[in-house]
Amino acid sequence: MSAADPEVVVLGAGAAGVAAACAAHEAGARTALVGAHPGATGLGSGVLLGGTAEALAVAREPAFRAGGRYVTVAGWLVTDALGALSSLLDVSRCDGPVGVLDLDTHPSWSAALVAQSLGGVVVPASPETPSGETFCEVASRLDTLGLAEGVAASLRARCRGLAGLLFPPVLGLHRLDVAATLSRVLGLPVGEAAGGAGDPPGVRVERALQARVPAAVLRREGRATVHPGRRPEVRVGTEVLRPRAVVLATGGLTGGGLVFGEQLQEALLGAPLWVGARARVPVSSGASRGADPSVWFAGDPPVIATAGLRVDGSGRVLDGDGTRGLHPWLFAAGEVLSSVRGATLGGALVEGLRAGAAAARVAREG
């Protein structure tokens, strides 16, 4: 067999897909990872919520660390974190008052508000600290080699007596070591607050995860189609792959994984959708032609956040009765699964590991 003839194909290269590819590869299967476009993974805050410590096998140091207590831009103290980017300030490790840097940047950063939530003190920025209209702008300036050292030195006097220094989420856009550099020069824990959708920590989570994919895993970019059968056929562009197992990690249904047609179904394989314990999904009645997506966003949490495929303990996709596997070779992980409260990054990693390992098993055993 050639390298282009993988045993496991993982569709979707977000958190769940990366975890599945890693697990399948480590279990000894020739693996391919197909990504179409960035999804929810890069929109995260940098904190891994949900899941178990098992997920940290993928999210390994130095980019991530286990456990901890973090604060978001909006002053939310996240205490139930599985882990986080190591650039985030773990306030549970700060033994004393935490300084919050009053950096001149996007108006969503209010050092006063965050300090109030945290019980910290506001630290005025030094003239050497780069400012900018958005977090990404500041982060990209801090990527400049040697700049972080100068910034840290300029802040030394202002941080006397503090047990830690909290930045807004700006500690590097491409580089992963800005926080460590600041911390080393200042001689105290330095980190950033968790961000929101599109902020630098999410970008770095995406980057750190991609860097974890073993070089032996075949990478393909583009939209895939799957033709089921006794042995599935996966097409990416003009290329045809004939794996022994497939892992669907295509992300949230709203990201394009759902067909809003006459019949509501998962887009790639037409797999049945579940909402909670039932495989029946709400469709609007009346004059609507086809399904009405607005119904999917109703409720709290919205139906869309909990709807998706259902899998057994090994990650195998179940049929509409929930009793048997839909195809013996089909596994799924991440946001494409139905869940109670919507997917989390930690959960996606755990599900990915499980599905990847199970898919490799099926591929090996034939």
Binding site: W76, Q116, G195
Partner: protein, 548 residues
């Protein structure tokens, strides 16, 4: 009666219930006459029909053949509004295509031509241009992509647009500067009546739960579609009768055309698409409405009805994305056995002395375009009761910011801001934009939203000066989060700025930001197609980062 009224010590002269265009217009009119008004609003200024209309200060062409005097008065008043609020108003030329073949269609075309020729007589009153008669080719040049199949020709006529929410805010601001008090999120729980006279009301602040009594010499019910409920709170159930008509608009992500285009919906009703800044509005539905007025729903069927109607005239409307809907209930006057479109949009001032309660009035009906006139009528009556002789001056005294134009490019250059940011600030605040920018710090002049410029100092201004108390109040006054981003880019930043002004905790800041994101999503939902749904994961991610 007047002497007796003047002697009583009260919290204010006139208690106005309702912060729509009628209530704020009345508060301003009274303020300019030196009468102290107190206005309480259950939701926010312009929360109902006033902030969700087509935003037109039109000349009332629908009354042209039946009541030409109404058209004349409407056109005159449109001219007055242009004079007092030139910064807010913008020209909307309408294109009215006529389709069909055969004699009957040609007669219809000629009749429409004659109709607009008649309307031309009134146009000078509101600086409107005379109508034009266009061939299908000419119409198509004006509106590329226009469906000219079976088109006989088209007619144009001129109207003026205005942002209803800003109109209410400006009236409220002027009232405040003339001694009135204005409080939003404060509802009337009971109109206090003793010995056949209204003495004031017991009100409750819905955000804090606090209740208190406001005493007044005169009480005016200006609660629009809520009018019958308010009358019941004065012990007069059934004395204000309305047939509220729900009106829905769609907001598109682009302007699509330079001129408004009229179209016929599937049931023959007249609907239209109008350019609205960077966006476009499609409106309007009109259906009897008995839903919860504080929480009106928009259905996917209403969206389809509007879209299909405009699509028949302008197929490329399908290329645009719907980024929101608006909904309001018109306070149309009650009539039995007529269809919704034939109901009167006229107004009436009810004196409830006839029902046994003196000193209580209800402003019933009305429309955005004629708000000033209606407010003048009501204020005249109140002034007579209070024996105040100073006449109305709302038609000559400029609204706040309407006194002089600003050199927008110069201002933009002075502060290193984009032309668009300052132009929009000027459209919302007129000449006040200069001081607003001048008094802000460099950090305050930064936009809270990268995609739609709303400056931090404007967020603070509408809280300090225009009475905004929640993030959604700020959104209504500034247009925050009403663009394509739906708040993903700006809700948190604006909540942080607003929170600094209003003393919010971190938890409250997150609640307000999440509340705005959810409200914007709710406004998009009925129009969310499969493609539109693909953008929603960013909203989920934003909510997740807020822990909500």
């Amino acid at each position: 009666m007047g002497v007796e009224l003047a002697r009583r010590r009260t919290d204010c002269d006139v208690l106005i219930l309702g912060g729509g265009v009628n209530g704020t217009g009345l508060a301003r009119d009274l303020g300019l006459r030196g009468i102290r008004a107190c206005l309480v609003e259950r939701n926010d200024l312009a929360f109902g029909a006033s902030g969700n209309s087509s935003g037109m200060i039109h000349g009332g062409p629908r009354y042209l053949t039946s009541h030409p005097s109404v058209t004349r008065a409407s056109c005159e008043d449109s001219g007055f509004v242009q004079r007092i609020a030139p910064h807010m108003i913008f020209r909307i030329p309408f294109l009215f295509p006529v389709y069909g073949a055969g004699v009957r269609a040609r007669v219809r075309f000629e009749a429409a031509d004659a109709f607009f020729a008649l309307y031309d007589e009134f146009q000078p009153l509101k600086r409107g241009k005379p109508h034009a008669r266009l061939s299908p080719e000419e119409a198509r040049r004006l509106v590329p992509g226009l469906n000219t199949e079976r088109m006989l020709g088209a007619l144009t006529f001129d109207e003026w647009g205005i942002n209803g929410a800003r109109l209410c805010a400006a009236n409220a601001l002027d009232a405040l500067e003339h001694g009135a008090t204005v409080k939003v999120h404060t509802t009337c729980e009971e109109v206090l009546v003793e010995e056949g006279r209204a003495l004031g009301a017991r009100v409750r602040d819905l955000l804090t739960g606090e209740t208190w009594t406001v005493s007044a010499r005169v009480v005016v019910n200006a609660t629009g579609a809520w009018g019958p409920i308010t009358a019941a709170l004065a012990g007069l159930p059934g004395r204000v009768k309305l047939r509220p008509g729900k009106g829905v608009h769609l907001v598109l992500d682009r302007a699509i055309t330079d001129v408004a285009v009229a179209a016929q919906a599937i049931d023959g009703r007249q609907i239209f698409l109008e350019p609205w800044g960077d966006t476009a509005l499609i409106g309007t539905t009109d259906d009897d409405c008995y839903a919860d007025l504080d929480d009106l729903p928009v259905t996917a069927d209403e969206v389809r009805y509007l879209l299909e109607g405009v699509e028949s005239v302008l197929p490329r409307v399908r290329d645009a994305k719907i980024i929101g809907t608006t909904v309001g209930a018109r306070p149309t006057l009650y009539a039995y056995g007529r269809n919704e479109d034939d109901l009167s949009r006229e107004h009436e001032l009810l004196d409830h002395a006839a029902d046994g309660v003196k000193g209580l009035y209800s402003m019933v009906g009305g429309k955005l375009a004629s708000y000033r006139m209606f407010a003048e009528e009501a204020a005249d009556q109140v002034a007579r009761d209070l024996e105040v002789t100073r006449p109305c001056s709302t038609h000559t005294a400029p609204l706040p910011g309407g006194d002089r134009p600003l050199d927008v490019p110069a201002l933009a250059a002075r502060y290193g801001l984009s032309f668009a940011a300052v132009r929009r600030l000027y459209a919302r605040h007129g000449s006040r934009a200069e001081a607003l920018l001048g008094e802000a710090t460099a950090r305050g002049r930064r936009s809270v939203c990268p995609s739609d410029p709303v400056l931090a100092c404007e967020v603070r201004y509408v809280i300090q000066r225009e009475g905004a108390r929640t993030l959604q109040d700020v959104s209504r006054r500034t247009g925050l989060a009403q663009g394509p981003c739906g708040g993903v880019d700006c809700a948190l930043a604006a909540a942080v700025v607003a929170g600094g002004e209003l003393g919010w905790t971190g938890a409250r800041v997150r609640d307000e930001a999440a509340g705005l994101l959810r409200a914007r999503r709710r406004s998009r939902l009925p129009a969310l197609g499969a493609l539109g749904a693909r953008g929603e994961p960013t909203v989920d991610a934003a909510l997740r980062a807020l822990g909500r």
